[in-house]
């Protein structure tokens, strides 16, 4: 029985802005393949935690690991295993959807990028309009393109910050198909649509003023850190 390495784990992770610990001594571990909803009021530290885990925000103290790679020692390898969706669309307005995905495919060195891009653009319904500048597309399509970019390199872990924003019901169905119901992927998603949570999540991580107040039971096996 190989020891189960937690897909996402945090060890006393802290981020301090001046006097305030926006994220203070957060520890948890999430099983691979689990879908966890990250809940909490505004300012509870959700976005900061996601930023810390995706190495976009530098930690003040503590550590975290994704797919066995620690943010303190191996950030580049860690980033190979994560797909990120944040508040900002993070796509180039002047480039077309096709060009956007081609750039990120080169950046992530995705094998046979062309087929993967076509598959994703068809899935999110952008294949017909793949050559138009992204700027003329609606906010919903921006979000779909960002979603396609997040899963482009088939990451094992998805860190989503309110992924439903701007999505119509069809878009939300896409979100479920590509991420929330995808068995191979571990998802930690901050969301405000609480009523949807029990439909897709099998655990809840709740934050209040930077501390964990509710967390799924830690991964049983010894945490290899």
């Amino acid at each position: 029985m190989t020891t189960a390495v937690p897909a996402i784990a945090a060890f006393d992770l802290t981020k301090r802005y001046g006097g305030i610990a926006v994220v203070s001594n957060i520890s948890f571990s999430l099983r691979a393949g689990s879908k966890i909803a990250l809940l909490g009021h505004n300012g509870a530290g959700k976005s900061t935690l996601l930023g810390l885990l995706s190495t976009l925000i530098t930690r003040t103290s503590g550590d975290a690991s994704i797919a066995g790679h620690a943010i303190s020692t191996n950030p580049i390898e860690l980033r190979r295993n994560i797909g990120v969706l944040a508040h900002l669309p993070m796509v180039y307005e002047e480039l077309s959807p096709l060009e956007n995905l081609e750039f990120f495919a080169r950046l992530y060195e995705v094998p046979e990028a062309a087929t993967r891009i076509e598959e994703l653009l068809r899935a999110v319904g952008l294949w017909r309009r793949r050559r138009e500048p992204t700027s003329i597309l609606s906010r919903g399509y921006h979000q779909r393109l960002a979603l396609a970019r997040a899963v482009l390199h088939r990451p094992a872990v998805l860190l989503l910050d309110e992924p439903e924003t701007g999505l119509d019901p069809a878009g939300i169905a896409l979100l479920d198909q590509l991420a929330l119901d995808n068995p191979a992927v571990t998802v930690l998603a901050a969301t405000h649509l609480v009523d949807r949570v029990d439909r897709w999540a099998d655990g809840v991580l709740r934050l209040d003023r930077g501390c964990v107040v509710e967390a799924p039971d830690p991964v049983t096996a010894e945490v290899s850190s």
């Binding site: 301090r16 610990a21 203070s24 209040d208 003023r209 930077g210 501390c211």
Partner: protein, 63 residues
């Protein structure tokens, strides 16, 4: 060659006066800051008391 004493005096005056003013300002600023921190930390201690007795949500104190 006259001694340009007035320039010598001007140079010394500029340096010493400037230095003295800077030092005095610095000391005042330092003392003022120390007092401010004391009052702030008292208020912090008080409000943390009321916070502890008020509700028991876990909270971290600042460094």
């Amino acid at each position: 060659m006259d001694n340009n004493l007035e320039f010598l005096f001007a140079g010394f005056a500029v340096f010493w006066a400037g230095l003295f003013v800077y030092l005095v300002m610095l000391q005042m600023r330092l003392r003022e800051l120390q007092q401010e921190i004391e009052t702030l930390e008292e208020r912090l201690a008080e409000s943390e008391q009321t916070e502890q007795s008020g509700n028991s949500t876990p909270n971290s104190s600042s460094s």
